[in-house]
Amino acid sequence: MRTLVFIPAWNEEGPIAEVIAGVRESLPEADLLVIDDGSTDATAERAREAGALVAPLPFNQGLGAALQTGYLYALREGYDACAHLDADGQHPPAEVARLLEEIHADRADLVIGSRYRDPGKAESDDYKPTLSRRIGTGVFRFFLTLATRQRFTDTTSGMRAANRTVMALFSERYSPDFAEIESLQLAVREGLRVEEVPVRMLERAGGTSFLTPLRSAFFIFKGLIVLVVGQMRPRHVEAER
């Protein structure tokens, strides 16, 4: 079973090497691809020095396009499973290995690492979100659950694992604007098995969150448009299954 772990990175020269080393340690058999999303710092160089394969986008295209690049690579190179995690050190690679177990055991097509679904707890001890993030999370959680009729807790999680069905779907259709939420909706609409697994996440090792209250409001508004439109999109069943 060939596995690809890919890491979308935009100006993460600080934490990237450590994240790569962590993935190598936790997932020694997996191939590693860093998608450099038009970084203006030395992210690509640091990643190559750390021994990772780097796919550099010529200019910043946004997280969605970077993730789609990873799915595209995994699909074309014939990987059986793939997973991705954030480059800022929030996601412990050992947890990614747990997501991949679900794919390898064929218990799901797409697995989301949720920072919230600790057994019996609404929020984890490691993770303390800000108020605006908490509101946004609540809104998305509500509407995505409404749209998909499936319970999701961490809708914007950037730690996921997928099989070839999902690779084929996402390399074809992956919103560059609002990748995290629309992709979940899309996968459920296409009748795929989407599963959430509670994971441990850490405080950000480097960089700051892009969410300010005004941006959060805009983010939420855009997300709602995406969800409404997503409900009206035509379904298309993937042949490869």
């Binding site: 780097v54 796919a55 550099p56 200019f59 295209q61 396009a65 560059p176």
Partner: protein
């Protein structure tokens, strides 16, 4: 699109020959500008058709001002200015939306192009690791990818 109740009491426009000449000259100058843009490769032919039509429309309007009154009557609008502005506004709105659609398509194409290039670069890195044939990238590129 019903006519406003409180429309002006004198609905007809009476274009003087002076304004008609100015309008015709502007229309011709506009079409000349479009031609010049095409000539200097600043505008592609396929995007120029709509602007030629617009210039011709201006010319026709200047030549036959009675036409506008007829159109206003057909629309049920008493004020010909309202008819003119609403038609132009709707056309421009449609055109702007059309451009947004074209822009979205091109944005998607640019994204895919960037992704393809990123993957090519990744392949170059793996190939350089195995054999140092960096010299001729065209050879490396052939037959690497199965058709989708």
């Amino acid at each position: 699109m019903t006519g406003p109740v409180l429309a002006a009491t004198d609905p007809k426009v009476h274009l003087t020959s002076q304004t008609r000449i100015i309008a015709a000259v502007l229309a011709l100058a506009f079409m000349a500008l479009v031609l010049d843009l095409i000539r200097r490769d600043r505008l592609q032919e396929r995007f120029s058709v709509v602007w030629f039509v617009a210039g011709l429309g201006m010319l026709v309007g200047a030549a036959f001002p009675g036409l506008l009154t007829v159109i206003a009557d057909v629309m049920g609008v008493r004020d010909t200015n309202v008819a003119l502005f609403s038609i132009v506004l709707l056309l421009l709105l449609g055109l702007a939306l059309n451009f947004s659609v074209i822009m979205s398509r091109q944005a998607a194409q640019i994204t895919r192009l960037a992704q393809e290039r990123a993957l090519e670069k990744a392949h170059e890195q793996t190939n350089n690791g195995k054999s140092h044939d960096r010299r001729d990238p065209t050879v490396v590129r052939q037959g690497r990818r199965e058709p989708e």
